[in-house]
Amino acid sequence: MKRQTLFVLALILIVPVAAFAGGAGESEPVEDEPVVLDMYHWFGPEMRETIEEINGRFTAETGIEVSYESAPTDQYRNVIKIKLASGDAPDIFGVFPGTEVVEFSDAGHLANLSGQGFMDRVMEGATVVTRGSDGDVYALPLDQNVIGVVYNRAIFNEVGLDVPTSWDEFLSACRDLKDAGYYPLALGNADLWVTQLIPYAMASIIYKEIPNFDAEMYAGERSFNGPEWRAVMEAYMELQDREFFHPGVLSTTYDQTIQLMALEQAAMVVNGNWIIAGIREANPDLDLGMFPFPSVEAGETAWISGAVGIAMGAFADSENLDAAMQYLEFWTRPEIISDYLMAKKAFSTIKGVSVDFDPAAGEIGGYLAETNTYPFPDQNWPSGVQDVFLKGYQAVFAGEMTIPEMLQSVDDEWAARTAQ
């Protein structure tokens, strides 16, 4: 074979590779093709039907199609960052309220929503955690959630218990339930995000006394390794030491706590109101209620940890930004958001919309009207701090760290993160 022939052969081999390497080219949008919005979120599988139904109504009205994809929360957190960093972001995506909105908008990934007319429909208070460092709104808050105690009313009646309103009553209720052969509390601490919920539910100990605790943390006037958080952690561990949880909390997942509630082996679970939907799906016959975690002395009213749970934003560099804005506007319409809230079993962030989605949630909704709320504490922390906290809860449960050691490790992380 002659050298020229070889060369030609080699060229043939190169061409497809070169085309592949440079292949991520931007194809020009064709006029007649319908606009397709890519949407990525961490809505659970139980929400898929509702989301697709809403998307269908949007398409019917505007002719814009929506291609919806979702992933479990922990996985979503990572994938969306990779998508954003590689510039291959979906047009519409979920954003975790709080620190992440600030980080994403500072990095220029989120479109500014402040000038948009539909933002007038959103409750002012709900946008506190969807604002960037410049004070503008960068994500649409879709629902609000509260953390509290979900309980099985039938078991409470059987054991002869009333809803506890103080810490002492709560402990004695747990004791009675345990004596009656139930696990008083289900706890899924194998899932890192679950570990924080009881402390958050109890944190009215902190925020009722010191509403500006986090601001004072930033100012260097407070530390986690102080009397406030130690009290929270000691109360948390008291529940563990008195065996009010089932065995193996560190290998039990969130899904398995739903199972324990559905099988009526556990009488209570401390979680967000979203768990009600999961329990009902597993066992529709249960009579469930929900009350605020009573981490207070008798006669006092507990505050409720409540916050925007889910937000949605538009990719700033999206080719379909106008369509994306239309889509977000669609979600702020009362008839759309009510359907979503009904399925999500969550509280509204849109003015004038109230949804009677569940008797159990209705119970804590009644408390909500009479008491104060504070946001999930981590929504105001620098990123990285929550991760150390989550690891710390597990380490304390596993007996690998003491409470002061654990809180000190969070303080160290706070110092390192705020120093940068």
């Binding site: 070889l6 060229l11 560190l250 290998s251 039990t252 690891k391 380490a395 690998e400 940068q420």
Partner: protein, 292 residues
């Protein structure tokens, strides 16, 4: 043959070179670069900070804990997996009726994804719902019904056990192949000399399958040091820090705490460790190999 690089040779290797450069060389080199920055994985600007990440590594308590866990995990899997695989291979080298079936059964876990293996085992090992503890309690071994993945003292070994369960068939097949290449005549001659079965194993079989040891130990060692999916699926590095290896730590730093630069620095260190250990190990084991 003359070693002159012609246009044709260059052109022929170009496709492979281009693919490798784009998908391997470039990411690896950029990883080194990012380890010298404070990039958070999101910003469009990247700040160069020299060796600061590496200095932080030296004093990071989490790094030393993770390093210790990596060593324990690697040592456990490498030793136990190779021992079990060798014993299985010696048994399966004999002749019996269900040999093919048994061999297949031990190899099946290799074909499953570690996600599937991890989820399945964490259900089986769950203290309330799991079959393992129900079975142990059922036959009166209640004291052995432990919280396999929730107890920080045994969680790392439980995960190591799953990893071994998954990969032992792979090592076994390599040992088996080596065993079957040992010439029959050597055994016959040993029989004539009146050697005992143990003597034959020690003096003929083991020396002759030394290359299989080399490759198997190398593969297990590297695999164990990089093991991520199995740990992430079953314990996520927990409870607390009990099963957090360097691979899990680098993931947590890069993707959870948004410290891509620091994560890259951990990756570089992990790479260096794996490279050094593999080279040393390869050299030692190679010297012990015998050739016919």
């Amino acid at each position: 043959m003359k070693k002159n690089i012609t246009v044709a040779t260059l052109a022929f290797t170009a496709p492979a070179l281009i693919v490798i450069s784009i998908f391997l060389l470039y990411p690896v080199l950029s990883g080194f670069y990012y380890s010298l920055t404070s990039w958070n994985g999101l910003d469009r600007t990247v700040e160069f900070i020299g060796l600061r990440n590496y200095r932080e590594l030296l004093s990071d308590r989490e790094v030393s804990v993770s390093l210790r866990n990596t060593v324990v995990f690697t040592a456990t899997t490498t030793v136990v997996q190779n021992l079990i695989a060798l014993v299985l291979a010696l048994i399966l080298d004999g002749r019996f009726r269900t040999r093919g079936l048994v061999k297949t059964m031990f190899f099946v876990p290799v074909l499953m994804s570690s996600i599937v293996v991890g989820y399945t085992w964490s259900f089986l090992l769950h203290p309330l719902f799991g079959l393992v503890n129900k079975g142990l309690s059922g036959i009166g071994l209640t004291f052995l019904a432990l919280d396999w993945l929730g107890n920080p003292r045994i969680a790392l070994f439980s995960v190591a056990g799953m990893s071994i369960w998954r990969w032992v068939g792979y090592s076994m097949v390599i040992y088996l192949a080596a065993l079957q290449s040992v010439p029959e005549v050597l055994y016959e001659s040993a029989d004539i000399d009146g050697a005992s079965p143990l003597r034959k194993t020690m003096s003929i079989t083991l020396p002759l399958i030394a290359p299989a040891f080399t490759i198997n130990i190398l593969i297990t060692l590297i695999g164990a040091m990089k093991e991520f999916d199995m740990i992430y699926v079953t314990t996520g590095g927990g409870p607390g820090y009990a099963t957090q290896t360097l691979a899990v730590l680098l993931y947590n730093q890069a993707f959870q705490a948004n410290r891509m630069g620091y994560g890259a620095a951990i990756a570089v260190v992990l790479f260096m460790i794996i490279l050094t250990v593999s080279m040393v190990q390869l050299r030692i084991l190679r010297q012990r190999e015998v050739r016919l």
